[in-house]
């Protein structure tokens, strides 16, 4: 799709330099949106409780990233594909899979709960 992927990439990386201008205070937002920090926190907290092995999660995450990048190609993603946001989408997909594999939850209940939040049937506005 992109006519000159390399040029776009160069621009992207050049832009990164600017964003990283205040590195000591972590210059950029670590999480792009609140759900990313929750997804991160869930994985780290569960691992802290020894609910799963980090290697297992990491192995799945690598597969997930490889699959996503082979679909779009490593250079194609000048937008969403390369962003940190989509990184946490992959993180979430791997986390779900590991938790299902470990029997901590099952697919149907997860899909049902997600549908409830999506439709507005359930919300936790107090959070």
């Amino acid at each position: 799709m992109p006519e000159q992927p390399d040029d776009q990439l160069d621009r992207r990386i050049s832009k990164m330099t600017g964003e990283a201008a205040l590195p000591r205070s972590n210059g950029e937002l670590v999480f792009d949106s609140p759900w990313e920090s929750r997804a991160f926190g869930i994985a780290v907290a569960l691992h802290g409780d020894r609910r799963f092995d980090w290697e297992e999660f990491r192995g799945d995450l690598i597969e997930e990233i490889t699959r996503a990048e082979s679909e779009v190609g490593p250079y194609a993603g000048t937008g969403a594909e390369s962003s940190g946001a989509s990184y946490y989408e992959r993180w979430l997909a791997s986390l779900e899979r590991v938790l299902v594999t470990r029997g901590l939850l099952n697919r149907p209940e997860l899909e049902a709960r997600a549908a409830e939040y999506a439709s507005g049937a359930r919300s936790d506005d107090d959070h």
């Binding site: 990439l9 990283a20 000591r24 950029e28 991160f40 594909e81 946001a85 986390l95 939850l105």
Partner: protein, 202 residues
């Protein structure tokens, strides 16, 4: 494309809520425990831990020797542990060698010393290109590595996470560890920048 991505973001947000609510309901995890992790990583752990490690290595040759020999134990001396089971390896920049760190497969990163990785570290652009054309990528970060300086790219993995020990800048003779730590940037410990010369720092 932007709309698609927004949609994917909303969907991910909904799924994350569903995940958290189910885990809490089952008594597997508490929301407080998740809050605690997020707060710790956002506020308490950051590149400053790494900066203190670098400053100590610059001022204490015995510590530096231990750090280069066994990074994991050396940073544990300073109270920084929890590398998700991995080891920390520290590579020293010199006039002859410049080191840069990447994780080509995912985003392995020494969290206890550097905090969470910046967005660009996780991008496929950085991960794929820095191995193939490190000099070009570094120049895009504004860092020129001399032709006669050897460039080493360290690919992190599950066993080993890398951190760069940058060169101490000129004009910092007699500085205290605390003063030096203030100078050390995250990017210099990933290897995409040098520690700025203090004369250029406001």
């Amino acid at each position: 494309m932007g709309d698609d991505h927004e949609h994917a973001q909303d969907w991910a947000a909904v799924r994350t809520k569903a995940l958290e609510s189910l885990l809490v309901e089952k008594g597997i995890l508490s929301s407080d425990a998740i809050d605690e992790v997020v707060r710790t990583y956002e506020q308490d752990i950051g590149p400053m831990n790494g900066a203190r490690v670098v400053a100590r290595a610059w001022t204490d040759p015995a510590f530096k020797a231990r750090l280069l020999a066994d990074g994991t134990s050396a940073v544990e001396e300073m109270g920084y542990g929890g590398l998700e089971g991995g080891q920390l390896a520290v590579s020293e920049n010199t006039d002859a060698v410049h080191n840069v760190v990447v994780c080509t497969l995912c985003s392995c990163y020494p969290w206890p010393v550097l905090g969470l990785p910046p967005t660009w570290y996780k991008s496929s652009a950085y991960r794929s290109r820095v191995v193939i054309e490190p000099r070009a990528v570094l120049s895009e970060f504004g860092l020129t590595v001399e032709e006669d300086t050897e460039l080493r790219v360290w690919d992190s993995n599950s066993q080993v996470r890398y951190m760069v020990l940058p060169q101490r800048p000129e004009g910092t003779e007699g500085w205290t560890e605390d003063q030096l730590a203030e100078l050390v940037t995250r990017d210099s410990m990933i290897g995409v920048a040098k520690v700025p010369d203090p004369s250029g720092v406001a």
